[in-house]
Amino acid sequence: MNGSKGEEEEESVRELLRDRFRLSSISIARSEALRGGMEVSDPVLACIGDLSFKYAEKLAVDLELFARHAGRKSVNMEDVILSTHRNEQLSVSLRSISNTIKVKEPQSEKKRKKPPRKEDKSVPSTIHIDDL
């Protein structure tokens, strides 16, 4: 089995993704604090980056389970809303965001700006790291 080598690669991909995710979450946190006229200390930013990445991975597992339970292979917006069912307010705000996404959808469909991205299912992974 070439499993172990594949897993090592998965692991290094995971670390790369984690770092990219942390950077995004730190910039979100910074700008959110700035809107309230606040500064954020570095340990707090690091902590929030870590927490949100762990949350994202847990979310991935939940979404997969929900989609499979519904007999689907693809995760949709209902699964995401279902994942917040314990917090009614969160569900409500996600529901309203999902409605705005739905409303926007037909327009972006007409533009057809980037349709191939979802169709290249033959490529198993969306990440290509050339310089490794």
Binding site: E39, C47, Y55, E64, E105, T126
Partner: protein
């Protein structure tokens, strides 16, 4: 207001895919063990095919993750504000963390 940072759906997709592939590999391994232990299973099952996500699902996931981060900051900012500080420190985050994790 328009250049507010958010998560890139492609990045979230890659993270989800990474988790799903790992889980699919685990399932495949467990199944292989079952086959060795018991009778041969009826061919490679479809269950092991990895999950995917549609574009809207990803967008909504990005929003959910963004909400997580902004909630953390806003709640910690409230505590910092109450203490008369303009910088969010680790102690402020500690105060709001338990409830935040229960809410998400």
């Amino acid at each position: 207001m328009e250049d507010e940072p958010t998560f890139d759906p492609d990045l979230i997709h890659a993270i989800f895919k990474n988790v799903w592939t790992r889980r699919a590999q685990e399932r495949a391994r467990n199944e292989a063990e079952d086959v060795i232990e018991g009778e041969a299973a009826a061919g490679p099952s479809k269950k092991n095919r990895s999950t995917s996500a549609n574009a809207n699902g990803l967008k909504l996931s990005c929003e959910l993750l963004r909400l997580f981060v902004t909630e953390a900051i806003q709640r910690a900012a409230t505590i910092a504000d109450a203490e008369g500080s303009t910088k969010i420190e680790a102690t402020h985050l500690e105060r709001i963390l338990p409830q935040l994790l229960l809410d998400f």
